[in-house]
């Protein structure tokens, strides 16, 4: 595999020794700090919750730095193993899983409950990238078919839990790999047509009642203002009433008086919009855009195809999280239960995301060693 001919831009720096990408780190830290400020308000100034979140942050940062120490080659070697273990765990969940909130998503390991779907968020793009990158780009049709299959199996297993939101996001992260690898536009149009044809089938045969209800509510929230439309109406009121410069930190009436549901988790963006207004929204989007831009830059500067594909897929998946969350709380998309990445309260998804950023840092900082080797 000594086909790395292009000499990459070589960097040196104190942080490079720890395999830290400084711009990405600064972007992430800015985002996390901003997130804590909003979270303090969104939890109703709960110190206990802040403490728990800061501890999670510490763990997540440690995981990120830890993964950054691994070289992309190491990660590549472990990709298919991780994918296989993840698949087994998904099957285990369906068989022995712990039921919570009406869905079977957790695996009880005795000392902690664990969502195997979180593993698949990382494992699917890694495994698909491993497979695609082991052939020349652009991938041939049968490569693509195998790639799609690698996406489809975990997706269907997770959709069966049922967790439609996560399964679609995981499918998407795999598809991003195929797209970045150069899947032809013609094929993509064909798939798009196929998916839209599949939509009615999904509506009538695959979706659960509560999922259909979510879509209906999304299409017309005002029909049921106290029932299923309540969340989205209150969220839009919170966002709209924030105006240009917001009601001020801790002063959001929708959030502080709890008219806004799930204010510290899925709807935390509404808290930000209410208290900091459009200016706060612009700031947050700027930070997100910077992180995404940096991620794509790392991807395009990566030395091998596996690294490129993985870095790009993680970055774009991160963007999809941001877009879906903001889209759903502001009425552009149905409410699917996706948290605002790195800002919403909650543990597992944050660790997974930071692990992905660890992979990005690894890609960004292991070039010289590669060149040297």
């Amino acid at each position: 595999m000594n086909n790395t001919l292009v000499s990459p831009e070589q960097r040196s720096g104190k942080l490079a020794a720890f395999h830290i990408d400084l711009p990405l780190l600064l972007g992430l830290l800015t985002l996390l700090a901003f997130g804590l400020v909003i979270l303090y308000s969104a939890t109703g100034q709960s110190e206990a919750m802040m403490k728990a979140q800061v501890i999670r942050l510490g763990v997540a940062l440690a995981v990120m730095v830890g993964i950054a120490q691994l070289s992309p080659q190491t990660i590549r070697r472990w990709a298919i193993a991780l994918f296989s273990v993840g698949l087994l765990m998904l099957i285990a969940v369906l068989l022995f899983g712990y039921v919570g909130k009406g869905a079977q998503r957790w695996l009880d390991l005795g000392f902690m409950k664990f969502q195997p779907s979180e593993v698949m968020k990382l494992a699917v793009p890694l495994a698909v990238a491993w497979f695609i990158a082991s052939h020349n780009l652009p991938p041939r049709l049968w490569h693509l078919l195998v790639g799609f299959l690698m996406c489809a199996v975990p997706t269907l297993l997770i959709a069966k839990q049922p967790d439609l939101g996560t399964s679609l996001l995981i499918a998407m992260s795999g598809v991003f790999v195929l797209f970045m690898a150069g899947m032809s536009w013609r094929l993509m149009s064909f798939i798009a047509v196929l998916v839209s044809a599949f939509a009615p089938v999904m509506w009538f045969f695959l979706m659960h009642d509560y999922q259909r209800q979510r879509v209906l509510t999304f299409l017309n929230p005002e029909t049921d203002p106290l029932g299923s439309g309540y969340h989205i109406i209150q969220s839009k009121i919170a966002i709209g009433s924030g105006g240009l410069d917001g009601k001020g930190w801790l002063q959001g009436t929708q959030s502080q008086l709890e008219f806004l549901p799930e204010r510290h988790t899925d709807f935390i963006f509404s808290v930000l919009s209410e208290e900091f207004g459009l200016i706060g929204v612009l700031l947050l989007l700027a930070v997100y855009l910077f992180i995404i831009g940096r991620g794509l830059l790392i991807a395009s500067r990566a030395q091998d195809n596996f690294s490129k594909l993985v870095a790009a897929s993680f970055t774009l998946t991160f963007f999809v999280y941001v877009f879906v969350n903001i889209g759903m709380v502001s009425g552009l998309l149905p409410v699917v239960g996706v948290p605002l990445p790195l800002v919403s309260y909650g543990g597992t998804s944050m660790v997974t995301l930071m692990a992905a950023f660890g992979v990005l840092m690894s890609v960004s900082t292991h070039k010289r060693m590669l060149a040297n080797g």
Binding site: N136, L137, S241, E258, L278, L285, A312
Partner: protein, 622 residues
Amino acid sequence: MLRKRVAMQDIAAETRLFNSRALVAMLVVCAMFSVILINMYNLQVRSYQDYQIRSEGNRIKVLPMAPNRGLISDRNGILLAENRPVFSLELIPEQIADIHNTVLALAELIPITPEQQQEFLQQVRQQRRFNAIALKERLEEEEVAIISVNLHRFPGVTIEARLSRHYPFADLFTHALGYIGKINTDDLRKLEEQGQLANYAASREIGKLGLERYYEEQLHGTMGYQEVEVNNRGRVIRVLRSVPARSGKNIRLSLDVGLQLTAQQTLQQKRGAIVAMDPRDGSVLAFYSNPSYDPNLFVHGISSSNYNALLHSPDRPLINRATQGIYPPASTIKPHLALLGLETDTIQPDTKVWDPGFFTLPNSDHRFRDWKRGGHGWVDVYSAIAESCDIFFYDLGIKLGIDTISDYMRQFGFGERTGIDIHEEASANMPSRGWKRARFNQPWYPGDTVPLSIGQSFWTATPVQLALSTAVLVNKGMMPTPHMAAELSSESSSELIDPGLRPSVNVVDEQNWQVVTDTMARTVSTLRGTAHNAFKKAEYTSGGKTGTAQVVAIAQDAKYDADTLDEHQRDNAMYIGYAPADKPTVVFAVVVENTGGGSSVGAPIGRQLLDYYFSAGVNANE
């Protein structure tokens, strides 16, 4: 392995491909962020006002506060309708660890029925946990005391005081004051029509009858409110603004407790009504209808057994006889008729008529009898009124004719509502040709005019009309509007009620009016006057006219014998009067149902009223 050509990797091409895809991805990211931003701009800038209002609507609630109802007092400031605190035992569920045991423990201290406990526990399930819920309402004083000393044992248990209407004189002023009761759907509809619904948001009761109903707007006051910030569960977080309620106006009546009590005593066990007023301004001094009932029963909702007892009592206590009692005025209208005769020159003060004891119309042998068998002999207008001769007025009535009589008597207020300040008032009936045509589709016969001339047959009047017509008589044609409210006052201002006098009856010759009031004074002062006995040795001068109204027609040549008649068919006793004779300060009307003569029953009641009126100096300060 794959063929070499295929296996050869074109790294530059791959990088170009990847970078172009990365560029496309970045552009898509930017485009979608733009979509988010446009949506945010729409929400936060273009629709800002809209969402701002909805956000305020979410968090701000207005809590209405009921105003205190105005008090009602008599002319001397004695309270007739007041607001008393009533106490209720209330529990706030969220502050109580074990509601069931708390209720049981409280039930050991004071009696709480299982129904009350059930109702309470049901409310606890239905209401928000931070709302106070009443376990028992209207506690006795002793119960309040027992709970109060044990209150430290029960966190979350409170005794709440609320003002409730109370009528300390119970049945004495019922038909004047009326009462308040719970607002019902009918009341709500009326309030909505009047645009007053918002003002009643916190009110539970409304005037249902009498003065409480007539002066509802003034008595009720203006609602206050608190603008509070609430959270999503409706709990009050803080008070943003507080506008205190403005109490209703207090009303001082012209009624006098003492005179009212006298009226009640004189009517004991009898059905009837007494109205006394000051002819100079129409202020009512006494307004009593017997039998009466306790209005306090209605304030908290009357039980159906109590209500049925009132409704079906043969004495009809719910009828306000002073304004809704429709009686033939009988001889009490003779002075008015005599005045009409004098003013129209139909008779002169010295015109004499022979009274053989009966009267016949030309071409008829129907005998209209005088109340006095054998007749009064020669009578003039003085003796005809003082002795209440019927024949004189049969003759006069026939000469005047129905049209003249009907028109003139309307000017005295007969057949019209007096406009007294309660809504429960009947107009009674002043008959005319048109009325009889409309009512019976018959022409008016002279035979109809004969009994009409002594206030019988179709002519009816209410006691308040009789008092008012007397006032017009002594006022020489000037008519006051009867009113019981004398003064409306709030903390800052007060307003006297004086509807004033209005010319109602055209005066041809004041001398004629003097003649008529002289004849009424003679009813009291001369030996043969029908009220002479009743007013013997009175320390004041007065004038009056007795009346005895037939309730059933007596057959030709039959003799009226009270003992043989069913009680409800006996005569009504009537008396109208005024005093002092020269410058009247009070006029009054007395009607007593089915008890006999105006002279023997009506006039003595008038005497007792006036005795009290002068001895207590009811109207002396004016």
